[in-house]
């Protein structure tokens, strides 16, 4: 039973680290800053949550601290992504399409 749980946990951990790799790949490949923020935070958040879930399968006694870290990641990653995108927009970083609907609205809503 414990061996089966460890195997399932290692599989989920591997899937999570693959998402971390895809996040790094998106950061490497994407054409402009906003796309990089998107790829870098969404895929990495999912990857971190999956690795924490895999760790909870491998060490069931650690669930409380793992849940604490997972809640922290869920709350803080979207926040830092939004603050970074707002900083990029206010620093007048252009998107690679050249379209800026937020500036066309006339006021800084971000």
């Amino acid at each position: 039973m414990t061996a089966a749980l460890t195997l399932v946990g290692a599989l989920i951990f591997l899937v999570g680290t693959l998402f971390l790799f895809f996040g790094g790949l998106g950061l490497f490949r994407m054409p402009d800053t906003y796309n990089r923020i998107q790829a870098g935070t969404k895929a990495v958040t999912l990857g971190t949550l999956l690795t924490l879930l895999g760790a909870a399968f491998m060490q069931p006694g650690w669930w409380l601290k793992l849940l604490l870290i997972a809640m922290f990641v869920i709350f803080t990653n979207p926040l830092s992504s939004q603050v970074l995108a707002r900083a990029a927009h206010r620093a007048k970083v252009a998107s690679h399409t050249g379209v800026d609907h937020l500036a066309e609205d006339g006021e800084d809503l971000a």
Binding site: G23, G40, V73, R86, A87
Partner: protein, 87 residues
């Protein structure tokens, strides 16, 4: 079997780490570098989690939590600093 899967997971996370490190070094804008630091610290947090799993010590999870907290505060402060325009 589980050890082999976790080794492959370590390799995938390390590959993602180096791709993010490329973005941190090359840039080209300051915001790109901050995104790179964000992803680097989160992958490093997963590395601390892996160290906790391998050594079997729960106390390492506290270090991972504090590391995530510090990286979050650092990213927020740097982003607020960059809002006034870079350089």
């Amino acid at each position: 079997m589980a050890d082999l899967l976790m080794f492959f997971g370590f390799v995938a996370a390390a590959a993602g780490f180096f791709l993010a490190l490329y973005r941190f070094v090359v840039g080209p804008r300051a915001v790109d570098r901050v995104v790179g630091v964000d992803v680097l610290t989160i992958i490093a947090m997963t590395g601390i989690l892996l160290a906790a799993l391998i050594s079997g010590r729960e106390i390492y999870l506290d270090i991972a939590l504090v590391y995530a907290l510090l990286s979050f505060v650092g990213v927020i402060v740097t982003a607020r600093f960059l809002e006034g325009g870079e350089q």
